[in-house]
Each structure stands twice: as C-alpha cells, then as structure tokens.
Subunit: 176 residues, 3 copies
C-alpha cells in the first residue's frame, strides 16, 4: 500500500515535543489498533505518543514498539527506548498477568509516598523520584526482525504523574 | 584448536529460550572454568546460561562476559547486556568484597518483602518488583578489546526468584 | 583550525577539577564555562572528570555532555553514559528546579540509611546499594547534533560516597 516514506504525525503535545521534527525516512505502517498511541518519526528516531489514564500507571507498549521494529526492515540490531519526561520512566517486566504491573505501581507508591516532606513545591516530587528509580532509558535487542524479549516480558511506559499525554522515543540501530 | 566458527550449545533451559537459534558466526573459546555458565550465540548475540543457587542472589558474571568480548576481536564498541526474565535483572557493582552483593540482596529483601499484600498470586510479586528497580538492561563500553570497568566494578546477574536456570544475553557492537 | 588530533587540557580550575592526560583523536573545542569539569578523549570514548562536594549529591552535567556531542560532529546517533564507580551512578531528571535533585537525594538516604546492619565493613554499604538502584549506565539519543532531552530533563552524575574526584565516561556512536 505504502510505496515509500510517510509521515505519521503525532498530535504534538506541545510542552515536551521540541525534539519532534517529522520527516519519516522509512516506511511505517498504520498503527491503528492502539487508540492510546500515535506515531511519528525522525529518520530512525520514532516518537510514540502515549496517553495515560491514572497518576501511577505501567502501560504495556510492546505491540507498538514491535510494530516499529517490524516496519523498519532491520533484521539485527538494537532498539533504544527513551522517555523524555522527568516524571515518567521505562521498565521491562511481566506482561501476562496485569497484577504484576499493579504490584509494581503499589510498591513504588508505598516506598515513595505522594505526600511527603519534599522540597519540590509542585506536589509531584514523588513522581520525579520514582522516575529516577525506574530509569529513563532501556535497550532491547533485535534479532530476526523481532524484539528479543523473554517469554513473559513486555515493555512498559511508566507514568508517575498522570493522566497525561506523553512521548516514548524509539531509536533503532542495525548492526554495523 | 578451534579453526573457525563453532556452536556452543546452552542446555536450552526450556521455558524462556524460544529466541535461541544457535548459529555461531565468530569463534568462541571454551568457557570451562565457570561451572555455572554455558554459552551459545546467534551472530553477535550471545546467550550465557546462568545457574543460580538461592532465591535472591547477585552472581558475578564478569569473567564470562569479558571472555565473550575477548573472543570477538572487537577492539572498540559497546557490550549490551540484557536479561530476558521478569524476576531477574542486571547490575554493576563492587566485585571485590562479596559482602557488598550480600548487602544489596538484603536491602532489596527489606524494602520489598517476599510476603506482602501483593495482587500477583504466584508468590513472587516481590521478585518482579525488584527486577524493575534493578533493571533488565545495561550497556558497558569496550575499549582495546576489554570491557571498560572501574577498578572495583563487576557485572552481576541478579536473581530474585531462584534457584533457577537463567539466561543473560550479550550483544556486542563494534564502532561504526 | 585543528588539522587532526589534538590534546586539549582543561585547566584544573576552581573547587572542582583535576587532571587527565589523553590523546584526542577527534576535535574538541574549548570547554570554558564549566569549572567543575575537565575533559579528555580517547577516540570516541571521552572521560569527564567530576568533583563532588557532598556525600550524597546529584550533579547536573548536561552542559558538559552536550558540549562533547556538539564537538563531535555527530549529527545522529546515541550517547552512552557510563559511571566506572561502585558508589556512584547516573540518572536523568529535572534540571530546572534544583529541589528535585535534593528530594531524590533525601529519599534515597531515607530508604537506604548510611548506618544500617550492613556486612560491608567500609561504612559505605548504603552508597553501593544506592548506585545499583540508580544504575551505572544510561543511553541518550542524538539528533541534529544535539542530545535529545525532554524540556525539563538534565543528566545527573549521582554521588553517593563523596566528596570525591570521579569520572563519567561518554561514548558517542553515530548511526551506522
């Protein structure tokens, strides 16, 4: 259907999207089935738009990331995941039983309570701290055109100050 | 001894090893001295098999990862480490005094107790949470054919639901 | 101006600086405005020297890392950050309000107290544990010759056993 390069525009949720300069240099197929995500790309730098529905939420974005990999024609390489926010992060954990994500959320909320004796005055100091514990970047391997994930693993965007419109950056690099 | 490429088979610990398709494209020497580890490879994607002996255990795998780097003939690049499990992770810390690893294990067990008010019904919710805090991926630099590690640093496979047979994926990428 | 390889020595300025002799294999411009950091490079592997002033301290090193990227002539690629210490780490979080860094420091000190029932006898077991929670490596994307950071994001060297002289390794890799 798609003969060459296409631009799929994210609705460019203002605030943190300065890095978005949209000029897709490889074919991206439609991302239809995932209403919470839209997609854009800068060369091999792809921006997934993520909409979160709660203050603390681990959202499984594995199908969207896999679709980017599948659309890229990269057989072997790495997939860098990067969250350009200071109150959100990225983790890889069990995607089969959603209770695992709920337990991670609850434990982070227990260890780092929303209301604490924090200095940061915006009411989301806990969100920042959670983001640093979980981390802003992760690297997943690509082999045979697929993400190399363990049987139970999924990629989770970690919202700690939602609900919000967020971005997840995906950068693919084929083997040199 | 080894004239060219060889396949060194991991005993393919069933469960999470579907991604293993063994076809070694560069020479791997024997990994004899480490009884807890065996080795396999897909192109530059290597799978180390790790056997853990306790429920919570940080296992130093630095010699095995260094051996993969040394066998690869990559002088300069990066070494991606990836754990394809949801109740295990990877960290880098002091390898000189084993008490440091014991303190990390004990502190994680204190902060995230085995038995808690968790939703996940399999009795290892804490293991999943620990895995997300420690992380599933790490990237170590390669220079002069060696891992660039600090004087006291070692690479630790982090078991949080052992004892088990586990895998650690090692992907080397030379500089472009 | 610079025809080939050069060694650029930052002058050991002010409260936070020191040495590092190296052989620069690509052009590095002056590193003027940052008295706390000096710079050296081996091929594309750069070592930033960081001086920390407190036991627990998140130090914003974004300008120095950006300067390395800007000096490299890499338009598109990735920037690997690596801390070769066992009681320090790297994180990405808000650089606008310094209270956020203070809250992260305080929360880590609360969760993992300096004095605890630790086995490691050097009095810094907590520092090691904090390092593993925050992590030793991070990967930031490069696009249009700039670090791709969110609007509020900065890169923080995380000192957990200061004050000390430390190193942060920066490895740039352009797209293959």
């Amino acid at each position: 259907m798609l003969a060459s390069a296409f631009v799929i525009l994210a609705s460019a949720a203002a605030e943190e999207s300065a890095f978005l300069r949209l000029a897709c240099t490889f074919q991206l197929l439609t991302l239809s089935p995932y209403p919470c995500l839209s997609l854009s790309s800068v060369a091999s730098l792809i921006t997934l738009e993520v909409k979160t529905s709660r203050r603390t939420l681990l959202l499984n974005v594995t199908p969207e990331v896999q679709q980017i990999v599948s659309s890229s024609a990269i057989a072997s390489g790495v997939c860098h995941l990067y969250v350009p926010h200071t109150t959100a992060g990225i983790t890889i954990n069990e995607a089969d039983d959603p209770d695992v994500a709920r337990d991670i959320e609850a434990t982070l909320d227990r260890l780092i309570p929303h209301k604490g004796p924090y200095k940061h005055a915006e009411g989301n100091a806990d969100s920042h701290i959670k983001a640093s514990l979980v981390g802003s970047s992760a690297t997943v391997l690509i082999d045979n055109g697929r993400l190399v994930l363990g049987r139970w693993q999924g990629i989770f965007f970690c919202e700690f100050d939602g609900p919000r419109s967020r971005h997840l950056l995906v950068k693919l690099a084929h083997d040199p």
